[in-house]
């Protein structure tokens, strides 16, 4: 039997969903992270509790939300609370996973979603800013990213640290005063899956997607990547994952249509 065909967005969503353990909590945004969480709920993590930063808790999502505060985020939910309540849950240590994105990410997993340029009062390119991202990256146990990988995005140094990764390396988060044991966990790109080296806290490639070479991965990165001793090939989506993703999670192809 031949392997099922899939696009890059489908691959990233499937890979991300497999890292979400059952009986855990996740604060997610719109788009791919929400799709990954929904897929996890329908496969390996049926009791994954999904929350949204504006106050939605445990919805039975009828469709993909357009906003992390729209009515879908608490549709038949367990609670419709508030921003302060969700962020307090994160600060209290109750939230296991979050997903973030940004215009730039560096080797320590610091993310910039605020500006390109050097002067915040007169940015070359103004981006939306932290929103809840800086809070979630500070307070949730494990921060994940789903992102395309290229040199413009994977830079040696972000122009602005909006969401803290490991700052400038081992021990820096703790020294800054961020809660111990938190930080970037996995970066799922269209080329590979990246984790973080336990000693240096630098990005370390764990698996490379089918059809992608190590050279391609490095060429699309603006800094030197570390490599796990046993770099594997990323396991492609199963036909069951693809069926659920296409028929149940994103039947209108809002997200996976972009792959």
């Amino acid at each position: 039997m031949s392997a099922p065909a899939y696009n890059r967005m489908e691959l990233m969503i499937c890979l991300a969903s497999r890292y979400l353990e059952d009986d855990r909590t996740a604060v997610v945004g719109t788009g791919a992270p929400c799709a990954a969480a929904m897929l996890a709920q329908k496969t390996s993590a049926p009791n994954l509790m999904v929350m949204f930063e504006a106050g939605g808790v445990g919805p039975i999502l009828p469709t993909m939300p357009i906003s992390v505060g729209d009515s879908r985020t608490f549709f038949r939910g367990l609670a419709a609370s508030s921003m302060a309540d969700i962020m307090s849950s994160c600060q209290r240590g109750m939230v296991d996973y979050t997903f973030l994105g940004g215009a730039q990410i560096d080797m320590y997993g610091n993310i910039n979603s605020t500006m390109i340029g050097g002067d915040i009062q007169r940015p070359k390119v103004r981006l939306p800013g932290s929103g809840g991202a800086g809070d979630l990256a500070s307070l949730c146990w494990r921060t994940m990213m789903i992102t395309p990988q290229d040199k413009r995005r994977f830079v040696p140094r972000v122009d602005f640290i909006t969401s803290p990764g490991y700052l400038d390396g081992a021990g820096a988060r703790e020294a800054a005063g961020l809660p111990p044991g938190t930080g970037p966990y996995k970066v799922i790109t269209d080329l590979c899956v990246i984790g973080f080296d336990e000693v240096t806290k630098r990005m370390r490639v764990e698996s490379v997607h089918p059809g992608v070479t190590r050279e391609q991965v490095q060429e699309n990165t603006g800094f030197e990547l570390l490599w796990a001793p046993d770099v594997k090939e990323s396991a492609p989506p199963t036909s069951e994952e693809l069926r659920i993703l296409r028929d149940e999670v994103d039947s209108l192809r809002y997200i996976i249509g972009r792959g």
Binding site: G29, T30, G31, E53, A54, G55, G56, P62, I66, S67, V68, G69, D70, S71, T73, F74, A80, S81, S82, M83, A84, M87, Q91, T114, I120, Q121, R122, P123, K124, V125, R126, L127, P128, G129, S130, G131, G132, A133, G134, D135, S138, L139, F160, I161, T162, S163, P164, L167, A172, R173, A176, G177, L178, P179
Partner: protein, 323 residues
């Protein structure tokens, strides 16, 4: 913003406490309560449960040099900053409309240097409202330590007097005026909100002046029948305006979904600055009121579609999707 809580107490000492009817019109409320130079905060979540009619009226009356709390400011930012009413902003989230794209008009305002910014996070601004609502000068938080965001804010690193850990102190934020859209309110301003609160319970208490726009006015008996539902009590409120479909083109939970076609129209027309000015003239400045705006956008027929989308009735009825 001045986190001086004793000054705030003096202000709140003078605040009218009478249980009196406060129902008025949108133009009167804005003329009386929103002034040039005021610091403004908007309830809801960007394009979810927002007081659109009040925001339009601020533009229509030509308010300028406003400060804006950029707490998840999406379509509200697009209106106020896009139309040039704002000269300073506490940014947590601006110019973006989440999954929909970016507002070019508000981006131009920021990139031109016309808007003085401080950077915050959504939690920081929510907790700044809460500190003000509590009447304390700051709240401590563990978020944002080590980030450039907090270097560009007015937050101060402190040491916990009990445990010795590092914390960020974020100062109380007392907006001059806030505007919040709710599902129902009585004539005195007692309000019920269905679904998520976002930060509006705290914002209502933090604001020095508050305009409530409500989908429906209800008799006081509705409030008294279930006082656990009162999200905002009357003594926080200065004006109540009844605006059906008042969050349009935003989402109103359990009432109507966002008009994604119209929001896309905004994003597209903003590519060209002159075209956007003409658009603002047509849809806001030269439009007598919010009802006329709703008519321009398709009127009751369109609103009925959005209501069916929100309540997911299309499958049952057999019509097409609206959003």
């Amino acid at each position: 913003m001045d986190p001086d809580v004793d000054k705030a107490r003096e202000y709140f000492r003078q605040r009218d406490r009478r249980l009196v009817p406060k129902v008025t019109t949108v133009p009167e409320a804005v003329a009386r309560l929103v002034h040039d130079g005021d610091y403004v905060a908007v309830g809801g979540f960007g394009a979810d449960r927002i007081p659109t009619a009040v925001l339009h009226e601020i533009v229509r009356q030509g308010r300028k040099d406003l400060g804006l709390s950029g707490h998840t400011a999406t379509h509200d930012c697009q209106i106020l900053i896009g139309a040039g009413c704002v000269n300073r902003c506490d940014v947590a989230y601006v110019i973006g409309l989440e999954a929909r794209g970016l507002s070019r008009a508000s981006r131009r305002q920021f990139e031109s240097g016309k808007i003085a910014v401080a950077e915050w996070t959504n939690a920081a601004l929510a907790w700044r409202y809460r500190a003000a609502a509590m009447g304390v000068p700051f709240l401590p938080m563990r978020s944002g330590l080590g980030t450039d965001t907090m270097k560009e804010s007015a937050a101060v690193e402190i040491t916990c007097p009990f445990t010795g850990i590092k914390l960020l102190a974020v100062p109380a934020l007392f907006p001059d005026v806030a505007m919040i859209h709710v599902h129902r309110a009585d004539v005195y301003g007692n309000c019920q909100i269905d679904g998520i609160m976002v930060a509006d319970d705290d914002l209502a208490r933090a604001a020095k002046r508050l305009i409530i726009s409500t989908e429906r006015l209800v008799p006081e008996s509705v409030i008294r029948a279930d006082p656990t539902r009162t999200a905002i009590p009357y003594f926080c409120v200065d004006a109540v305006v009844e605006v059906p479909y008042g969050s349009y083109p935003g989402n109103m939970p359990y009432e109507y979904f966002s008009d994604e076609d119209h929001l896309r129209q905004w994003l597209e027309v903003e590519e060209d600055a002159a075209a956007f000015e003409r658009f603002l003239d047509k849809y806001i400045r030269n439009t007598p009121d919010f009802e006329a705006y709703l008519e321009l956008c398709g009127g009751i027929k369109r609103l009925q579609e959005l209501r069916r989308t929100e309540l997911m009735l299309h499958a049952a009825i057999g019509g097409g999707g609206a959003g």
